[in-house]
């Protein structure tokens, strides 16, 4: 059963310097109980996708395409229905949880607020449910009486996860949920997310720039570059044998400890990820690509089959597929 279906999503921001395309045609599906990872660096458009799914983009941004959440198109919903769907259909665990909590309100009240806003319970019941949610994320229910500054970073992130679960959504979007955390706390939060996701049968969209985290947590991966998906497929093959040169470069930035090939030989790409206002022609990766050839600046690649369930937007993959057939 498909929980989220994104079709040909395009998002353009209107700025003083003219329209800037942040997302240039992205399509993917997430089924119930499945975790899809979205990886990419700054300027690739992944945060824009998060906002687009719940129509949280600033005014002046134009969105085309379809975002089907449990069958309904979010982009054409009426305002009332949209408000009802936000948080009950899909919820978000934001980056930087430290700043997303109101410092002058108790944790329990903030959790209850989400429940009360959606009229799922009255205030008193909502507070009880808040206690249950805290327990679910591994915090003692009495912490509901605490203020945010009394919690550590890891604990605050757990509260954010509890908040995302408050209205029992079918889809959770995790936007860089562990980026600001220590390795140990990151492992704890990832384990928690994994358990909750399995227990509640949630669909999850996990967004990060850390490819190694994604491989641990996700069933499938999609790699984004300059507003488009350049490779997608099951996580293990994509990480172990990347078909797209960008994925390969990204994977090389997260070395395996113990692998002597990485010892004293850091590898990176020259240049920088393109900003949305200056995207190269043809295959947008060609200026930094180690294996670019003469067609690359002129032809925009589609996603071609690359074997093992992977698809990659690379002309080399297209040529290999042609040879194979």
């Amino acid at each position: 059963m498909t929980v989220l279906s994104v079709r040909d999503l395009e998002v353009t921001y209107a700025t003083q310097a003219g329209p800037i395309p942040a997302v240039r045609g992205v399509s993917f599906d997430i089924d119930k109980g499945e975790v899809l990872g979205l990886a990419g660096e700054s300027g690739c458009g992944k945060s824009t996708i998060v906002n687009a799914i719940l129509r949280l983009l600033p005014p002046g941004a134009t969105t085309t395409g379809q975002v089907l959440l449990n069958g309904e198109d979010v982009l054409t919903m009426k305002a009332g229905r949209l408000r009802a769907v936000r948080w009950t259909g899909a919820s978000v665990v934001f980056q930087g949880a430290m700043h997303a909590l109101n410092p002058v309100q108790r944790i329990g009240d903030q959790l209850a607020e989400a429940i009360v806003l959606h009229r799922l319970s009255a205030q008193r019941e909502a507070l009880v449910r808040a206690g249950d949610l805290l327990e679910k994320v591994g915090l003692p229910p009495r912490r509901a009486r605490d203020y945010p500054h009394e919690l550590s970073g890891g604990q605050k992130q757990r509260v954010m996860i509890a908040m995302a679960l408050a209205c029992t959504p079918t889809l959770i979007i995790a936007d860089e949920p562990t980026t600001a955390l220590d390795v140990m706390v990151q492992a704890q939060v990832l384990t928690l997310l994994n358990e909750l996701q399995h227990e509640m049968g949630l669909a999850m969209l996990f967004i990060t720039h850390d490819l190694s985290v994604l491989v641990e947590v996700c069933d499938r991966l999609a790699i984004m570059y300059a507003g488009k998906i350049v490779e997608e497929g099951p996580s293990a093959p994509v990480f172990a044998k990347p078909a797209h040169p960008y994925t390969e470069a990204l994977a090389a930035a997260f070395p395996s400890i113990g692998d002597l090939r990485f010892r004293r030989s850091p590898s990176g790409l020259g240049g920088d990820p393109p900003q949305p206002d200056s995207i190269p022609s043809g295959c947008s990766f060609h200026p930094r690509c180690p294996v670019a050839f003469d067609e690359c600046p002129t032809v925009v690649p589609d996603l071609y089959e690359a074997g093992d369930g992977r698809r990659a937007a690379c002309l080399l993959v297209r040529d290999q597929a042609r040879v194979a057939t």
């Binding site: 700025t15 003083q16 600033p58 002046g60 020259g270």
Partner: protein
């Protein structure tokens, strides 16, 4: 392992900065010239951004107008017209006419002449008082913010002390102890407006002081003088400048108020004294609007002009205020 002599020279190696504009030509690589070129380009950019603000341009135009009027007052209206006994004066209390476009006052002096010449005193006192206030306030703010510790506490308590001195009673006391004069007004305004500047400056210095680039400078071995002049002042300067613009407006308003209340030099001609004269002669009761309105409007427009410029500058300094 490569011996150091085989390192690429400046010209070798793949170019990385190709998307940038070409740098200065080889002859102009003198560091001083570089600094000046930078300032020129930076000023140009600021001007371009300022030009985009309609309100800012209106304010600037009005300001320039006022300043020109003050400078060229002798050309616009004869100084003789300020004397009560000038033969050029007309009938007392007469409404606007062809010869006297803004009417006459209780001495038959042309109100237009009074208004034009009055700009000199108002603007001068306003600017001088602001200068005093800015210099004292900035110095104290920077020293307090940078040094911290005991010096900061002492200076901030001093600031608090001056902050609570009430403006009007101080002016009255000083005017009665010393004789009322322009100097007294200037001092009073200067003394009572520096504390708020000091607090704003100190807050900004505290914020800049902890920024990584200041720490980097410290790590490089910079002395306090270097840190303050090269890093803290340039980042606090724009704030001081924007604050100055707004303070001038307040100073002019204050001067007018004090003069209106009779605490200024009765012999000087400013907008405030003109208004004082007008009210003292009962112009409000007898409906002699031509005497009250011009100086009043002059005050309003000057203050408005400064404020508009201040807002436009604020938007430049604080890009988050700019509209999307």
């Amino acid at each position: 392992m490569r011996p150091p002599e085989a390192l690429p020279t400046f010209e070798e190696g793949p170019p990385t900065g190709t998307e940038l504009e070409p740098g200065p030509p080889p002859e102009v690589r003198d560091p001083r010239r570089i600094a000046w070129t930078r300032r020129r380009i930076s000023a140009g950019r600021i001007w371009k951004t300022y030009r985009k603000s309609t309100l800012g341009m209106i304010g600037l135009a009005a300001l320039i107008l006022f300043v020109l009027v003050a400078i060229f007052a002798p050309l616009l209206a004869s100084k003789e017209g300020l004397k009560a006994t000038c033969p050029c004066n007309g009938i007392l209390f007469s409404p606007p006419s062809l010869k006297y476009p803004l009417g006459t006052d209780n001495f038959g002096r042309s109100v237009l002449t009074l208004t034009i010449w009055g700009s000199r005193v108002s603007l001068t006192v306003g600017l001088l008082a602001t200068a005093i206030s800015m210099i004292i306030g900035s110095l104290i703010g920077i020293v307090a913010g940078y040094r911290g510790g005991v010096s900061e506490s002492v200076l901030m308590r001093l600031t608090d002390w001056f902050l609570v001195i009430p403006f009007l009673p101080l002016a009255i006391v000083l005017a009665s102890v010393l004789s009322p004069s322009l100097g007294v007004i200037t001092i009073v305004i200067g003394i009572t407006s520096w504390p708020s500047t000091a607090r704003i400056v100190r807050a900004q210095v505290l914020s800049v002081k902890t920024r990584p680039y200041v720490e980097r400078s410290r790590a490089l071995g910079a002395s306090g003088w270097h840190l303050n002049t090269r890093h803290i002042l340039p980042n606090v300067g724009p704030l001081i400048f924007a604050n100055t613009i707004l303070t001038v407006a307040i100073a002019i308003l204050s001067e007018s108020t004090l003069a209106f209340l009779g605490l200024g030099d009765p012999l000087s001609i400013s907008w405030g004294t003109t208004l004082q004269n007008a009210f003292g002669s009962g112009a409000a009761y007898t409906g002699q609007w031509w005497w009250i309105v011009p100086p009043g409007l002059a005050i309003v427009f000057v203050v408005l002009a400064f404020t508009l410029c201040g807002f436009a500058l604020d938007e430049i300094l604080n890009p988050k205020l700019r509209q999307r």
